[in-house]
Symmetry: C2
Subunit: 341 residues, 2 copies
Amino acid sequence: MKKNPVVAVVGATGAVGREMLDTLVRRNFPHSEVRALASSRSAGSKVEFGSKTLTVQELTEDSFVGVDLALFSAGGSTSEKFAPCAVKSGCVVVDNSSAWRMDPAVPLVVPEVNPDDLSWHKGIIANPNCSTIQMVVALKPIHDAARIKRVVVSTYQAVSGTGQKAIVELENQVRQLFNGQESTNSVYPHRIAFNCLPQIDVFLDNEYTKEEMKMVLETKKIMGDDSIRLTATTVRVPVFYGHSESVNIETEKKLTSKEARAILSQAPGVRVLDNPGEKIYPMPILAAGEDETFVGRIREDESIENGLNMFIVADNIRKGAALNAVQIAEVLLERGLLRIA
Amino acid sequence: MKKNPVVAVVGATGAVGREMLDTLVRRNFPHSEVRALASSRSAGSKVEFGSKTLTVQELTEDSFVGVDLALFSAGGSTSEKFAPCAVKSGCVVVDNSSAWRMDPAVPLVVPEVNPDDLSWHKGIIANPNCSTIQMVVALKPIHDAARIKRVVVSTYQAVSGTGQKAIVELENQVRQLFNGQESTNSVYPHRIAFNCLPQIDVFLDNEYTKEEMKMVLETKKIMGDDSIRLTATTVRVPVFYGHSESVNIETEKKLTSKEARAILSQAPGVRVLDNPGEKIYPMPILAAGEDETFVGRIREDESIENGLNMFIVADNIRKGAALNAVQIAEVLLERGLLRIA
């Protein structure tokens, strides 16, 4: 009988790490053991794993001995330092940081879009940026049907994308303002409560933010098509869970809104919510806690010959992070791409 | 000596009506008398006008006798019924509703963009939609310099655009959720607190909302150029004051971001806030309570030959409504386009 893998979750106490553990349980991911790893600061604390409680162990270079699969969500510098150690121990790493995403030797995978890229992995597989994942899930079937020439995207991103501290910051600011106090901020450079922040991640030399360029570059890599042109504006909004995206698409071949709706209705991982007459469309409060990417407000853009607008919403912690990582692990397992010690 | 006009504010108890009164005071608008008018329900209530208090009078067909200028902000049906009465009394109407905006006989004016259209008014001048006003203030100087071919806009609109009731609804929902209660809604079809609603105004046959088509059609009329192609996605966000817009522009002539910044820095009504290194960019919390339209995140869009992205924020009650109406009145007065009885 085939053995089940030993799985480690690195960054197990963070918002994404906890969701990774929950996702492994929810999807009955085969495992013989699950280890929760985190920095020395969190070592000894407890995290839930279904009905069990795991004691968090300190992440060290020796943590991966006997581990077959490691899901990392502990920031870029932790991934840079420890993912190679894990690989050296014979472990396959699915990494949620941006550290390895654009490395040509590392597959960047959304299972609905490019599962075959997993075949050439050399130990590390990168999980894309949250805002990129949900967009490509919806773009891929459109690209296959009509070839996408250009995308203009503006995002409405939830604070949970920044992590647990940002969730607390939004909560605190709302309490402060509703009690007539000045709001304070330490996670974001400005107040996020009842505000929109047109900055996500740091600014680059080209005046775009790193988040904006992640959407541009990662999309091309995942879709395996450098000819797709993209431009992005990424904005943080006072929402706890669920990233929204207003996406304008120019295609080579004409698609009516009806055709696009039919294509997306058949697409893996997509749930079309598009009945304006009944006021049904994707919203963060509907997508939060769900696995699918919600697509709606699908309509023809009459300002160009072959244009479409759509509104795409997904749970940034689930499909945007933990779920996509676990789905990658599932494909690795199914296709025998995980070496089980 | 020239007499000062008698001014009426119709809808004086609403969010925009109150701001119109405040704006008349703040800008020392010349007047010999100011009357506050509203529906019978509000008649008898008091509104502030600088250091004075005005008693609200019931709006009737006879309300405009002796009135030279009426600023309407009381909804489309009130404007449709009473604006013609006012004009018959010799009064000039600046109307904030959408009732007359697309009437070819009615000028639709943003004073920084098309003040000359006031010359052909026949008694009614329409004040454009809030999200349109702030966008055209920033688009006009770009159009003059490089001719705009196409605009893709996504909005982040504050609840105050819906009126006082929506402000209260957002407040109530936040209180309910922070007290562990279910939130209730009556103004919006779904919860707005910690959510994004991709619906503003009603849906039309072409699957766009009325708000989205207002942005498309009003922009062409104000800019006096039907060749500009536009597509819009309008979204309500949990912000009290200040509409934000992510605007992608394709021009005929190439403009660098530096050139665009220089042009906008000279443009009337615009304040460029664009220093990413210092984390300076437009945000609702900066624009609220200000008269100018804030423009930032100006950068070249490399997905097309001549493209620009920018983020435009303004106080939707001020420049988006009350201020623009009073500015129209100021131009009417300066150019002798107001007949004073």
